[in-house]
Symmetry: C2
């Protein structure tokens, strides 16, 4: 297996109601969940290197919910440069930046073997009409992505962006004890954060020298130092470590 760890463990036959995925839209309650669960029936498995799930310029047919693995969305400019716009982990939706306009602005491909649930747009619209709470949840998901995009897009230093990225991944992957395994290569991290691969590498090394992290390959452990948090704090996508904000 070319991808060290997190082999996506398909969980193919599970029902969405029992979905193990932390943030899965379908979790929770009631009739909305049942309807959503039915809608998400069709699934697709994606391998790295395989044709993309979705290509920039395509008419958006469906929204996708990541069930396992990691999907990256990106654009490719005239010179062939890839520009990664986001990484989508289990529980995330793909296609939210295309709901206005109706055609996809980005291409979506698997970073590691992955599985997605497919929600055809027509069905989704019907579902929204019947169950406004679904729209509410999609609105929240889109809002969350917007907040992240605005935060990462800001004018921060390489160290700040990388620190925020690590903490954010820790949070999203639900890492226990600061132990986590990044699905993507440093090249992709750098591309996403507007950094050269070399800068990612050097900055990680720097963090390691400070004792803030230790890493081997794509597995890393955040040693709980406040350094990363202090660096990432102004970016504001990581939950505050409690307290700290008494004044305005």
């Amino acid at each position: 297996m070319p991808y060290d760890a997190s082999p996506a463990r398909p969980t193919a036959t599970q029902d969405c109601l029992l979905c193990p995925v932390t943030n899965c839209l379908a979790r929770g309650h009631d009739a909305a969940t049942a309807a959503w669960s039915a809608l998400l029936g069709p699934r697709a498995t994606l391998m790295p290197g395989a044709p993309p799930l979705l290509s920039a310029g395509d008419r958006l047919q469906s929204v996708y919910s990541v069930r396992a693995g990691c999907i990256k969305t990106y654009t490719i400019d005239a010179e062939g440069n890839e520009r990664i716009r986001g990484f989508h982990l289990p529980g995330d939706l793909i296609g939210l930046d295309a709901l206005d306009g109706g055609y996809s602005r980005s291409t979506a491909a698997a970073v590691v073997p992955s599985q997605v649930c497919v929600a055809p747009l027509a069905d989704l619209r019907r579902l929204i009409a019947a169950e406004p709470s679904i729209a509410q949840r999609m609105l929240e998901a889109t809002s969350r992505e917007l907040a992240i995009a605005l935060a990462i897009g800001g004018g921060f230093t390489a160290e700040q962006r990388l620190a925020a990225f690590l903490l954010h991944m820790e949070q999203r992957l639900g890492a226990r004890g600061g132990l986590l395994h990044l699905p993507m290569p440093q090249r992709d991290i750098g591309n996403y954060l507007r950094l050269a691969t070399e800068t990612v590498c050097r900055t990680l090394k720097h963090f390691a020298e400070l004792g803030w992290i230790s890493h081997k390959g794509r597995s890393l452990s955040l040693n709980g130092h406040h350094g990363l948090q202090e660096l990432a704090e102004p970016i504001g996508i990581v939950r505050r470590p409690v307290a700290l904000r008494l004044a305005a």
Copy 2:
């Protein structure tokens, strides 16, 4: 008047159904519009320098719809640095990045004398339950902002970002014949685009030397050269000038 031109022209007593604003959510049709119109009843006028409409960390009470003027949203870090996350023009909504979480991530203040319509969240939720098309439209608005944030956040050169900004403003302001008046100072443009004020100035000068624009103060005219479009093209927030995409 300290702000040369576009003095916001309050239009205070107009009904939202007759709203002159191009993209106003309330435009269009049916019962949804009527309900929305009623909801948007309360209005607020904002002057530059006045206390912000909304502050980072506040519990989000309402979503705001810009009716006239220009509102900027920004964060302020520990050192007091302002970081502008977006400019909101008539027809834009404010607060969309806070729908998840429920508290505002940014502060909103007027760039020029402005007017907003106030949509209390509780009312909005009720309205969405009754009229799913409102949720649909908000979803589209949020999606649009997401696409813009992702695009501007990418790793582009100063010239590319500024070119995209100018063309985008031309589009959003509905400028006729390439003539437009920017509401915000160069400092704010630079802050938004992660550029020093000096870089904005020099880049504008450069565009002018190339004959692509001419400007005096905040009024500028885009001379229709393809240069700006070519620069901005990879960023992808400006509509293509027709044709050009036969392949792929």
